[in-house]
């Protein structure tokens, strides 16, 4: 166990959270992880006004997109790609449902905003740049992790609630 505490000038830091990329999973990777071995058939739906109102009433959550990006898994079940609004950015995520509409998986596809958002904003960093006389960013000050004020996942759990209501209103219905 080793630790050391450092106070470093903000302008020398490279905030690299999440590490190496801001994409955790592509849609195809998330599909393969949620429904192992399945193939996927797109079955995108466009919500009517009545359906949107019904989903909002059932879930208590606003519907932001009229289009629902759904795929049917060949092994049974549904894969939905959606997004929610975090504090600063959209958070794409995916939800897997079995044939009865029960959740079998939730994956965050991309997570850019994290905690260090304000520190990565060019405008925020620019206020300090005059003090550095063109100092270069040093890659060995790579910051991979952030700790501090906790982020709630409420927006994501609300998104899941909204999609469960979407399943009940749109997907669970027998085809006409």
């Amino acid at each position: 166990m080793r630790s050391r505490f450092l106070l470093l000038p903000v302008t020398t830091l490279t905030i690299n959270v999440p590490a190496h990329a801001t994409v955790y999973l592509t849609i195809e990777q998330a599909q393969a992880l949620t429904f192992s071995g399945a193939s996927f058939t797109p079955d995108f739906r466009t919500l009517t006004d009545a359906q949107m109102a019904s989903i909002e009433k059932d879930s208590g959550v606003n519907v932001r997109h009229r289009q629902v990006k759904v795929w049917r898994a060949s092994t049974g079940g549904w894969f939905i790609a959606d997004d929610v609004v975090g504090k600063h950015e959209y958070i794409p995520f995916a939800l897997g449902l079995d044939q009865a509409g029960r959740v079998v998986g939730i994956e965050i596809l991309e997570y850019r905003e994290s905690y260090g958002h304000e520190v990565r904003e060019p405008r925020w960093r620019a206020q300090f740049s005059g003090k550095q006389h063109g100092a270069r960013l040093r890659l060995d000050d790579d910051i991979r992790n952030i700790s501090g004020a906790t982020l709630s996942c409420r927006h994501l759990t609300d998104g899941v609630k909204r999609l469960l209501a979407t399943y009940a209103v749109v997907l669970a219905q027998p085809p006409r």
Binding site: L6, A19, N145
Partner: protein
């Protein structure tokens, strides 16, 4: 970079424990990394199900409904966490106290459980851990394991990753994190603006970090109260201060942030005994550190 590392670490994130939990594995090929990460998330989900204050079937909810009437049996992991919680209560003379759930509910930070109001004199001393994982409350009280369960879940996840052959990884549950492996990693402490345009960074290898508290003006996410209560005074603590604790186990780091936030240096000796180091930022923007040598 060790030669066993693959070209790119594999990282995934899910909403769990009321926050975003990210698991990153450096040293397994991608398919193996995904299997290990899946197993780690399952451990975290199991901790969440057992110890969530919000899930009606969790051990915590069952205890809050029933344990004042009769002993209630809990799962093995909940039993471990309760023993840990009682140990921290004793070690901090009750400043760490899971019965401050009552104050959190009164402050609107948690929903009211479906059971009678707690006895205002109730404390951690009224929690009886009996044989065969049974728990009884000697007075009407409510418990919340939020002050230690996240850290415990992180420890479980890391143990699981080790079982899958991982030797370099990071599990981060909304800022309570554990870094395993020979290569140190840097963690930025998101604590608001610091004097002199500086950032506080901890460089860690093979240890855990937990943070509690918040500075003025640092908005928290929806649904987050950011409140902690001193179990002795029963008052909200650490307004404008931030406590970061480094320890080998994330459960220890998590639990110790609350007394460090409340009283700070009084716990230097206890921190040293537990092998933990605390960094506390006061409302004026000054850092102090105490406990085991960093």
């Amino acid at each position: 970079m060790p030669s066993c590392w693959h070209s790119r670490p594999v990282e995934r994130a899910r909403p769990l424990l009321g926050t975003i939990v990210a698991v990153r594995v450096h040293d397994l090929p991608e398919p193996c990394a995904h299997r290990a990460i899946e197993a780690a998330f399952a451990e975290i989900a199991a901790t969440h199900r057992a110890m969530s204050f919000h899930e009606p079937d969790s051990d915590v909810s069952r205890l809050n409904r029933e344990a004042w009437r009769r002993p209630v049996r809990v799962s093995p992991h909940t039993a471990v966490v309760l023993r840990l919680a009682q140990f921290f209560a004793a070690a901090t003379d009750g400043v760490f106290d899971i019965t401050t759930a009552a104050e959190l509910v009164a402050a609107g930070g948690l929903p009211r459980p479906d059971s009678p109001l707690p006895d205002p004199c109730a404390s951690w001393r009224d929690i009886e851990l009996g044989p065969e994982r049974t728990v009884h409350f000697r007075r009407k009280l409510w418990i919340d394991l939020g002050g230690v369960a996240k850290g415990y879940a992180v420890d479980r996840a890391v143990t699981c990753l080790i079982r899958h052959g991982v030797r370099q990884c990071c599990v981060n549950a909304g800022g309570d994190l554990r870094i395993l492996g020979p290569a140190p990693e840097r963690v930025m402490l998101r604590v608001g603006d610091l004097p002199g345009a500086m950032a506080a960074v901890l460089e860690l290898a093979d240890c855990s970090l937990a943070s509690s508290g918040e500075r003025q003006g640092l908005a928290v996410g929806a649904g987050q109260t950011g409140q902690h209560f001193d179990g002795v005074s029963r008052r909200s603590v650490g307004c404008g201060a931030v406590a970061c604790v480094v320890a080998e186990s994330c459960a220890v780091a998590d639990a110790l942030t609350k007394p460090v936030l409340a009283i700070g240096e009084k716990w230097a000796a206890a921190l040293r005994r537990l092998g933990a180091t605390a960094y506390r930022l006061d409302a004026a923007g000054h850092w102090r550190h105490f406990g085991a040598a960093a």
